[in-house]
């Protein structure tokens, strides 16, 4: 039995502790916003926050996530009001949308530690999130918008 804290709730799971966190989230908890992309930490589609840091859930064993605060896209805000979510809507970033939850989780992790990133800092932070539709220019624009929204909110 493993105990995880996901989106503020403590949950007990009957699961092999070596199971990737991604499958605990998707298969056992039904939190399907976090996507399976490559399964090898190469694409970023499975990005969640663990203690506030962006982590690839496809390679993090459940055992390593116990005792830590896990946040998925569903827990980023209770009403889609996080500046990143509002900016993504405003800029209409997604095309197919498959990678976008991972993109948003990385963007939110970046803005949490750097509320006013330069383009170079955005590129460095987002380099591990791949988008086959090529929405990179809109991702970067939305992060700049989210930074403004975040500053206005304070």
């Amino acid at each position: 039995m493993e105990t995880l804290t996901v989106n503020g709730k403590s949950i007990q799971l009957e699961i092999d502790p070596q199971t990737p966190l991604l499958w605990a989230l998707r298969e056992q908890l039904g939190l399907t916003g976090t996507k399976f992309g490559c399964g090898m930490a190469l694409c970023g589609a499975c990005t969640v926050h663990v203690d506030g840091n962006a982590v690839r859930s496809c390679v993090m064993p459940v055992r390593a996530a116990t005792g830590k605060q896990i946040t998925t896209i569903e827990g980023l805000s209770p009403d889609s009001s996080h500046p990143v979510q509002r900016a993504w809507l405003q800029v209409q970033v997604p095309q197919c949308g498959y990678c976008q939850c991972g993109q948003m989780m990385s963007a939110a992790a970046l803005l949490a530690v750097n509320p006013n990133p330069s383009d170079a800092e955005i590129d460095d932070a987002m380099a591990g999130n791949i988008c086959r539709c090529g929405t990179y220019a809109r991702v970067r624009k939305a992060i700049r918008v989210a930074a403004e929204l975040g500053r206005a909110q304070k």
Partner: protein
């Protein structure tokens, strides 16, 4: 006057001559240079063994100049253009631990892992890549280039889980040419024999 000076200086000259003879013919003086030369040879041999590990891809891929690590046995640039970051732990939202967990993933070409996965910090990058053995040796001894470590401090670094990972690198990666035990033993030997460095431009 000149004769008097000569008489006065004679005993001094004799004492000096005896001292020279003593130094030249004493057993210690004869053993000194020979022993010192043998010790230096031992130290250089030990360093050569140590260098074979330091210059293996498992060490060299992160002991690099510049901003980005390398990966694989062919030391190609790390995927996704990841950056060192000021503390050596990556960029915000793309820290090393975003993908590198405390242990290897079992998947071929999946990210390897060990506790505290990181590069040397930007201020002391400890970059061996591109250096000759002589230059690596001098850098290893230079506190400004080795992370402000004494020679003795190098040993515990080689015992960390991150360095030990090199001997358990996961599928698709080779280990350094010596065992970890032999590596640490040769490192201690190099330090204990005076940490001799090869001359610039030589392999010894």
């Amino acid at each position: 006057m000149r004769l008097r000076t000569k008489r006065l200086l004679r005993p001094v000259a004799v004492v000096l001559a005896l001292l020279v003879l003593e130094i030249h013919f004493s057993p210690q003086a004869w053993a000194g240079p020979q022993e010192s030369s043998q010790t230096r040879e031992s130290s250089l041999r030990a360093f050569s063994a140590v260098a074979s590990v330091l210059t293996s891809p498992r060490c060299m891929n992160c002991h690099v100049p510049g901003d980005s690590p390398l990966q694989g046995d062919d030391s190609h640039p790390h995927a996704m253009n990841v950056k060192r970051g000021s503390d050596g732990k990556g960029s915000p939202a793309l820290h090393c631990f975003a993908c590198h967990q405390a242990e290897n993933t079992a998947i071929l070409h999946g990210p390897p892992g060990a506790a505290d996965w990181q590069l040397p910090p930007a201020k002391t990058p400890m970059a061996w890549k591109g250096l000759s053995a002589a230059e690596v040796c001098r850098a290893l001894k230079d506190p400004d280039k080795n992370g402000h470590r004494t020679l003795q401090d190098l040993v515990p670094h080689m015992e960390t889980s991150l360095v030990r990972w090199a001997w358990n690198p996961g599928p698709g990666r080779t280990s350094p040419p010596l065992s970890h035990e032999e590596f640490v033993s040769r490192l201690r030997e190099w330090i204990d024999t005076g940490a001799a460095c090869p001359e610039q431009g030589t392999t010894k």
